[in-house]
């Protein structure tokens, strides 16, 4: 090991990478920890970037280190550095500028990038965004100055949050969704009715069941979007939110096993010695079925990153896996939580729904009705964490099934 070598090398400076770095520091005060980040700025809370667009926050207020649990010291973050390739046999990484760095243990936490659907023409025009980084958010905030109408392609959470940021800047915003309803990844169409209403009340225009075929532009950038129903929307900004893909290009030919992401075992390790992966880039398992899964959620990335950090520091820790769906947020004035198995069409699950004028919930049990496997709460998310606990720990529900159905479960039921 030379002076340039690092005991712990972490590729990627966002949720999983930084959570791992701080977890390592909790167990190993001496070992050198180096984080390599391709972004030019210090690590930040990525979920907050829509606030840069709305103007609610300056980016300096979003810095990660020193906030929340990220208080470990002596973590060296090398910004503006992109890893070009990795040689696990020689335990070294090559940066794009030609620098070679050695390590003893390495974590791949390079996250994901927005998916650009190949069937949409003209995505290179200026004014077309796929929000991922702080730099994107800053560019978007600038483009707002010359925008009256913004069109969002995709009805997922990222686009909804971005849409609200743009509404706060007093733009007209149209959401174009190919699915029959918004948030189709997180809930069934009938589950999303209250949210749809709240979005429309907040001033968002929503078109469902259509998709974009092309983006039109001239010297000023984007001028419009053509849709597959033959219509045309004039606009000065387009935001694409069509899911993400894992960043694994630098691992081609490295010998690290890839299957639409980095394959990991129960201890967050990859197939070669002293290599680990966590976050969006990693394939882990779903705790109910055990099926392989990757997610793009901050909370999951932190959890897996911490687990990987502990394993790297020599504290062998099994990762419990994660639900593909594990979301809480509030859109407009409507809070919601969606977790576990929530798409129940054509399945033999037991499903209990309860709708009022202002609330909706759906509880999903397995076919025997003995385990809770999913839940959706809209409007009233009280005690949602208890239901997550029941799902995740696979608790037999016989003692409190009615309380689950009625949404009256409390911690006292776990104490009997």
């Amino acid at each position: 090991m030379t002076a340039d070598d690092s005991q712990y090398m972490i590729v990627g400076g966002c949720a999983a990478g930084m959570a791992a770095a701080h977890a390592i520091r909790e167990h190993d005060r001496q070992g050198t920890v180096t984080v390599i980040s391709e972004e030019p700025c210090a690590p930040y809370f990525r979920p907050l970037i829509p606030f840069v667009i709305s103007g609610k926050n300056q980016w300096e207020q979003m810095a990660l280190e020193g906030c929340g649990p990220y208080t470990g010291s002596n973590i060296f973050v090398r910004t503006h550095s992109r890893v070009a390739s990795v040689n696990p046999a020689a335990r070294s990484v090559f940066l794009q500028d030609g620098t070679c760095l050695g390590y003893q243990k390495i974590l791949f936490a390079t996250g994901s990038r927005p998916h650009m659907p190949p069937d949409i023409k003209g995505v290179d025009a200026s004014g077309v965004f796929a929000l991922r980084t702080l730099a994107h958010a800053k560019a978007m905030a600038q483009r707002v100055e010359q925008t009256r109408h913004a069109v969002m392609l995709g009805g997922g959470l990222l686009n909804l949050k971005t849409a609200f940021a743009l509404l706060e800047r007093h733009l007209k915003v149209t959401l174009v969704v190919y699915s029959p309803e918004v948030l189709s990844q997180l809930m069934a169409p009938e589950d999303a009715l209250l949210i749809r209403k709240a979005l429309e009340n907040a001033g968002l225009t929503i078109k469902t069941g259509v998709s974009a075929t092309g983006i039109l532009s001239d010297s000023t950038g984007v001028t419009g979007v053509t849709l597959d129903d033959g219509s045309h929307l004039a606009c000065q900004m387009v935001c694409i939110g069509k899911g993400v893909r894992p960043n694994v290009d630098y691992l081609e030919n490295s010998g690290i096993a890839l299957e639409n992401g980095i394959v990991t075992d129960r201890y967050t390790a990859c197939n070669l010695p002293d290599t680990f992966a966590a976050g969006d880039v990693a394939i882990t398992h779903e705790p109910i079925s055990g099926a392989p899964i990757s997610t793009a959620l901050w909370t999951n990335a932190v959890e897996m990153g911490r687990c990987a950090g502990q394993n790297m520091a020599g504290i062998k820790t099994a990762y419990t896996g994660t639900f593909g769906i594990l979301n809480a947020t509030q859109v407009a004035d409507e809070p919601f939580v969606s977790m576990g198995v929530v798409h129940t069409e054509n399945s033999d699950c037991q499903v209990f729904r309860q709708a009022t004028k202002t609330t909706y919930r759906k509880m999903v049990f397995d076919a025997d009705g003995t385990r809770l496997i999913g839940a959706v709460f809209v409007g009233d998310i009280t005690n949602a964490g208890l239901y997550r606990y029941v799902i995740r720990e696979r608790l037999p529900v016989s003692g409190f099934k009615q309380q689950i159905i009625d949404h009256t479960l409390n911690y006292g039921y776990f104490m009997r």
Binding site: L64, T299, A328, G385, Y411
Partner: protein
């Protein structure tokens, strides 16, 4: 004494009178008086709860300050941290009201302030020697003590009961 004190719950002593809830709300009101708290609008928020389990068990429940606090790691804005006293605190200036903490708390003790759209929780009454809920409990169902002292007291109680039973 360097050992931190915790709030312990003796469920067999709770009668469900909810004195803890009222005391908590008063302690977190602007005036810190009962009359002021009742008149305050929007009303002050309690951070201790008394749950009911059929057929008739009452369970006071309050933030456990989990060692591995899931809320702190789940928070997407860095609003939740552990202070120098070991108390897990939510910084309202950083909270964005996404309710991820509510989704991961297995005790259900994180509240949502709908007026401010901020999460709130037990802060162990930083300005008081003994948390308001513990002071208010008329039956000793809530105990504020260090872990060694509390478990020592429980052991003593049990061994006394045992030796008494053997003597009979």
């Amino acid at each position: 004494m360097s050992q931190p004190k915790e709030i312990f719950v003796k469920t067999d002593r709770c009668m469900g009178c909810r004195s803890c809830i009222i005391a908590c709300a008063v302690a977190h009101s602007e005036s810190k008086t009962l009359f002021g708290a009742v008149a305050q609008s929007p009303g002050p928020k309690n951070r201790v709860y008394v749950e009911w389990v059929a057929p008739d068990k009452k369970v006071p429940i309050v933030c456990r300050q989990c060692e591995d606090a899931p809320c702190m790691y789940a928070c997407i804005s860095g609003a939740i941290s552990r202070n120098e006293k070991g108390i897990v605190v939510t910084d309202p200036d950083k909270c964005i009201g996404c309710w991820t903490c509510v989704m991961v708390c297995p005790y259900g003790v994180i509240g949502r302030n709908l007026e401010t759209r901020k999460a709130y929780r037990c802060d162990r009454c930083p300005d008081r020697d003994i948390p308001a809920c513990v002071s208010a409990c008329p039956t000793g169902a809530l105990v504020y003590d260090t872990v060694p002292a509390y478990s020592g007291a429980v052991r003593k109680q049990v061994s006394q009961a045992l030796s008494k039973a053997e003597g009979e």
